[in-house]
Subunit: 340 residues, 2 copies
Amino acid sequence: MIPKQTVNMTDVAQRSGVSIASVSRALRGRPGVSPATRARILSAARDLSYVVSPEASHLAGGATGRVGVVVPRVDAWFYSTMLAGIAGEFDTVGVDLVLCALPDATARHRFFESLPLRRKVDAVIVVSVPLTAREHTRLDQLGLPTVFVGGDHPDGNQPWVGVDDELAAQQAVGHLLRIGHRDIAMIQAGDREGTRWATDEARIRGFHRQLGDAGLTDPNVVTVEWGIDGGARGMEILLSRPLLPTAVFCHSDEIALGALRTLRKSGVSVPQQISVIGVDDHPAADLSELTTVAQPVREQGRIAAQQVLAQLDPEAPETAPTVTTLPTRLVIRGSTAPPR
Amino acid sequence: MIPKQTVNMTDVAQRSGVSIASVSRALRGRPGVSPATRARILSAARDLSYVVSPEASHLAGGATGRVGVVVPRVDAWFYSTMLAGIAGEFDTVGVDLVLCALPDATARHRFFESLPLRRKVDAVIVVSVPLTAREHTRLDQLGLPTVFVGGDHPDGNQPWVGVDDELAAQQAVGHLLRIGHRDIAMIQAGDREGTRWATDEARIRGFHRQLGDAGLTDPNVVTVEWGIDGGARGMEILLSRPLLPTAVFCHSDEIALGALRTLRKSGVSVPQQISVIGVDDHPAADLSELTTVAQPVREQGRIAAQQVLAQLDPEAPETAPTVTTLPTRLVIRGSTAPPR
C-alpha cells in the first residue's frame, strides 16, 4: 500500500510562496492563478512529490482532473498523431487523459447508450466520430464541455477544430487539372456498416465540384473500405475496367499507398502511365514519393486540448464557441506528372 | 448539469435476476461473478443506462475502475497498435484507460518523481519504458499491480509480456547468412539522451551473436536516432564508407524504410546491390516489399491487459508472475536476395 501522504498543501504553499487557496486552485486545474504562479506551484508540488487526491478534490467540489478523448480507433496514424498532440498539452497542466476508442458500431452504440464517461471526466474531446442525432443528444446529456475535432461540423454551439476537407480535395484535383489531366478517377472511402463519415463526404464534394468547374462530368469512381487494403482493391477494380484513367485522386494517403502497391504489382508505372495523389501527408507518403495534400494533425490535437482546457477555466472570458479551420497544403512528389 | 441518476443497483439486479451484491461486484469489475452473469448484468445496466459512480464505488472501498497505461510515445505504430490491443480488452470489461505518454527525459523525470497516477488507478501497464533503478523503486512505491510489456525484463517478481528481441535479430541475420551474405552491416538505434533501451540492446546482441557463430567479426555498424529519418541518415553514412556491404540489418522497419529511401535516392538497387531487412512487420513494410521479422504487437497489448485484469481479481488463484514471450517470425519479401 502507499504510505499516507505526509506532505500537504500548506507545505506546497509555503515552498511556492502563495496562499493555500492558490495551491488548491492550481493543483486542481482551476482558474484564478496566473501561468507563472501555476508553474511555480506545480514545480514546488513536484519537488515535494505532492499529488492532489482526485477523490478529495472531487468531494471538495473540485474537478476530476480528467478529460475523456473519444476516437474511432487508436491504431491509425491520424488518430495516434492527434492523441499525441492532445496528450502533450494535457501533460503540461497535469490533466489525465481517459482514452475511449470506438472501433465499430457495437462499441459506438455501447458508448453512447451507457455514457461510461459520465461523472468521470470534466470535459470531452470527440475526434472524427460520426454522430447520429441521438448520439448528439446523448453527448449533450453528459452535460460536459465538449470540443470536436474533424469530421462533422457541430451546429455552431460547440467548438470545433479541423481542416476544410472539401477544399483539400479541390487542392488535390486542382493540381491534377493544372498539369493537364482530364480523365481523373477517384477511389473513395465507404463504411461497411453504412456510417456516414463527414470527412469522406466533404472530399467527395470537393472532387466533383473541382471537376465540374473544369467542365468534366461522370468521372470513374470506386468505393472501398478505408485503408491500405481498400486502396489496393480499389485500384484492382480500376485496372479491370476498359479504360485506365490518367490520374486518380485517393481519399487518403493510406488508400493511395494501397493503390500504388497494386500498380507496382501490375507493372503499371507511376507517374508515366497514371498519376496518383492522396490526402494527409502520412509519413509513408514521403517514403513512397506520393504527392498529397498535407493536413496538420498534431496541431489539431494541440488546439483541441487548449480549447477544452480554456473551457474548464470559469474565469476565462465568455466567448462564442471557437471554430478553428487549419490550412491544408499541396505537397508535390514523384507520383504525379502531366499525362503522356 | 446531469440529472440525478434515477436508476439504481436494485433496478439492475431485478432486471438481471441476481443479487445487488453481484451487481455491485460486476459493475466494479470485482471477482465473484461468473463471466456469463457479469455479461447479463452489464447488459441490464446498459439497457437501463445505469452507470456506477466511480467515486461512490471508491468510497465504498471499491476500485477506481481505471488502469494507467504508460508508453514512451503515442504516435508511432508500435505503441498505437499496442494501445489498441489494450483498449479493446479494457472496453469489454468497462475499465477506463488513463494514458500517460513520456516522450522525453523531462516527461519521464516528471512522471516518476510526481507519480501522477497515485491514487487514481487500480493498476498500471508499462510499455517499453526504460527504467532506472530509482524509477523502478518509484513505480514500486505506487503500490499497484504492474504489468510490463516489452523492453526491460523485470526481475521475475512482476508479469512481463514481449518478444525475444535477441532471437528476432538472430532470425533476421540468419536469413541473410543462409542466402549467402558474409558482409552484413547493422544500422542500430541509439538514444540522443543516452537512455538504454533494452530492445535495442537485445537486437545488438542477437546481431553479433549470429555473426560470431558464423565466424564473422568486425561488422560495419552505424548508430542513429530511432525512426525513418535516422535510418535514412544511417544508410547515407554506410554509402559514404569505402566498401558497401552486401546486406544490412536494420533495428526496426522504420529504420529500414528510411534506409530504403536513401538507397532509392542514391540509385542503389535493392536487392541487387544490397539486401535490407528490418524487424516489426510495420504496415509500410509490405508496401515497400521489405523483408522483416514480424512481431505480434496487438496481441502483446491484449495479453498485458488480460494479465492486469487478472491481477485485479483477488479471487483469481495465486500464481507466480507470468512471463509471456510471444514468437517472432521471418517474413521474406523483395528487399533481400543472395549477393551478386
